[in-house]
């Protein structure tokens, strides 16, 4: 929040003239922390007011409910529209609701995108709210959404309405995603109607943005971008926006030496399910409050015809138990 409107929210600040307020910017006092750090005597001289008024103003500013204050995430439950998944979420004490930050992990090609498509379609269908689908791989398939709608035998008008509710944006890099979320936050602040209607953000897939960050310097940049992204996600989550973020997992023999870049090491045949490691490193692993892993049934031979069955394992849960799982199936109508 800008300093000027914050000052104007205080009793003391409302007594200041336009000229006095403009003097702040001219003296490079542009943010709240600049104002706090400014010498009280300097402000006293600058504004030609007594020091006690300056102190009172600082006190009043400190007590303002700022934008970063907990706005109170709405307390009601959505459902994912996938019965077995909803049962799983209830059992691990994390029903799908506003402000959730979840991660969906799995090997390439296992079906994460299918699940994200289904979550998006079910959300706009059931809740009449918009979804922001951030496509980092430039592979979003309108045809697949249409096929899902056709398989559900919905009428043309309902189909068109559902399609309009899924807003797809391409983002090639982590910085692009950060800019996109920053813009989204600004629009929420400005109470833009389209943004106010958007309650779910899906990212497919975050790992794709960081596949080429190699070397010490680039890894540091990656950490910085991920930290910034985490801050933006959390800020939006506090405003009631839910996130489901796709990530790629690889098998790793030795958990202690799992590379931050998620490079696959070792012999796949020797590992167990528990050693399937998501990409993006240890910092990112603590950002999502629930991490779900999409996996093929263990007995299934990958070379055989895919029957669409997938296990969903809870591999990390900040607020409840982990280790639970359910069985889903990818069908023409989506994941059920």
């Amino acid at each position: 929040m800008d300093l000027r409107p914050m000052i104007l929210q205080t009793c003391t600040g409302r007594l200041l003239s336009e000229y006095q307020l403009n003097l702040l910017r001219k003296n490079n006092i542009c943010s709240l922390i600049d104002f706090y750090d400014a010498d009280e005597k300097k402000l006293h001289e600058l504004w030609a007011i007594n020091i006690q008024s300056v102190r009172e103003l600082k006190k009043e500013l400190s007590l303002l409910p700022k934008g970063s204050v907990d706005e109170g995430t709405p307390d009601f439950n959505y459902d994912t529209g996938i019965e077995e998944l909803d049962k799983l979420l209830d059992s691990v004490e994390q029903p799908f609701k506003p402000g959730r930050v979840w991660e969906l992990c799995g090997q390439p090609g296992v079906g994460k995108t299918q699940l994200l498509y289904t979550l998006a379609l079910n959300f706009v269908w059931k809740h009449s709210q918009a979804v922001l689908f951030i496509d980092t791989k430039r592979e979003f398939s309108c045809k697949r959404i249409q096929d899902m709608l056709r398989a559900r035998e919905v009428d043309e008008e309902a189909s068109e309405r559902a399609m309009k509710g899924i807003r797809v944006v391409q983002a090639a890099t982590g910085a692009d995603i950060n800019d996109l979320l920053k813009s989204f936050d600004h629009q929420l602040t400005a109470e833009t109607h389209a943004s106010m209607q958007t309650k779910l953000v899906l990212i497919d897939s975050l790992a794709a943005c960081f596949a080429f960050y190699r070397g010490r310097r680039m890894r540091d940049v990656r950490k910085s971008v991920l930290t910034e992204l985490a801050c933006k996600i959390r800020k939006l989550a506090l405003r009631g926006v839910a996130f489901v973020i796709g990530n790629v997992s690889f098998f790793e023999n030795n958990k202690d030496s799992c590379g931050d870049d998620g490079e696959q090491n070792g012999d796949d045949e020797e590992v167990t399910r528990q050693q399937l490691e998501p990409m993006l490193g240890s910092y990112w692993s603590s950002v999502a409050t629930l991490r779900l892993s999409v996996e093929l049934p263990e007995e299934e031979d990958f070379t055989l015809q895919d029957d669409g069955l997938r296990f969903i394992y809870v591999i990390s849960n900040t607020y409840g138990p982990d280790g639970e799982h359910c069985l889903l199936r990818i069908t023409d109508a989506g994941v059920v």
């Binding site: 943010s31 709240l32 922390i33 706090y36 600082k58 006190k59 400190s62 007590l63 700022k66 970063s68 204050v69 907990d70 109170g72 995430t73 307390d75 402000g99 540091d220 940049v221 950490k223 910085s224 991920l226 930290t227 910034e228 801050c231 933006k232 959390r234 800020k235 989550a237 506090l238 240890s282 910092y283 692993s285 603590s286 409050t289 990390s316 900040t318 607020y319 138990p321």
Partner: protein, 250 residues
């Protein structure tokens, strides 16, 4: 009574005094934030439920603690104490517990941070808040290590993890000393390593809570923890097993 065991395990039978600094450290995903949350919940509950009935400021960087999760922890604290009631008729109903938890939550102020400037602002806001409300007895910060990598492109020369941690710790410590309140914070253990031998003033940390995660078993100062139905010492894990975990090479 499990949550009281946690409190005693950290602070001893007498509990902690005013003007105390508590450090909760450990690797990622070792339960630091959840332990902090549970200790905060203990401080929030009323005297008659074995708590301290304090007001609390939570400077929130990681956002793992939120109103929903903290309210749940408070209810668990209340229930844990209620279980010990001798006469069943004295046990509060669910509605009464919810009402009490709501009253406890009204004494928490979240100072949410999403940038390094927000942390600086929040520390100043905390000072004014304490002046304005003498009932505030605890300033909690989760977590000191969260924003180390933020603003990377803008920083010409990055300070060490240890220095970053110590500078933020010093600011929190100064706030707590000036205001005569307790301070409690979490930090990732990697930040505690003084790899470059930097000479920085010593901090007056009175209580060190060391979290470890060994073979999916989480330990608090060497004691096994259970995270089912709140956080409490895991009495089902024998002493021998715990010692075996600690002596194994990590």
């Amino acid at each position: 009574m499990g949550s009281h065991q946690l409190h005693f395990a950290v602070f001893g039978s007498c509990g902690f005094e005013a003007d105390t600094l508590v450090e909760i450290s450990g690797p990622g995903n070792s339960g630091k934030s959840l332990v902090l949350q549970q200790l905060v919940a203990h401080c929030l509950v009323p005297y008659k439920f074995g708590g301290r009935q304090w007001s609390v400021l939570l400077i929130n960087l990681s956002h793992k603690i939120n109103r929903e999760s903290l309210a749940k922890s408070i209810r668990m604290e209340l229930k844990a104490y209620s279980v010990g009631e001798v006469i069943a008729a004295k046990c509060p109903t669910e509605e009464q517990l919810a009402e009490i938890a709501g009253e406890c939550m009204s004494r928490v102020r979240f100072l949410n941070c999403f940038a390094n400037d927000d942390v600086s602002t929040s520390l100043i806001d905390a000072r004014y808040a304490i002046i304005n409300d003498p009932g505030i007895q605890l300033v909690a910060m989760d977590t000191l290590s969260e924003f180390y990598w933020l603003d990377e492109p803008k920083i010409a020369k990055r300070m060490s993890m240890y220095r970053h941690y110590r500078l933020l710790q010093a600011r929190l410590e100064k706030l707590c000393k000036d205001a005569i309140v307790c301070g409690m914070y979490t930090v990732e253990s990697a930040f505690l390593e003084n790899r470059f031998g930097e000479n920085l003033p010593e901090a007056g940390i009175k209580y060190h809570v060391r979290m470890q995660k060994i073979q999916n078993q989480i330990l608090l100062n060497g004691l096994p923890l259970s995270f089912s139905n709140g956080i409490h010492l895991d009495t089902n894990t024998s002493k021998e097993i715990t010692e075996a975990l600690l002596t194994q090479p990590s």
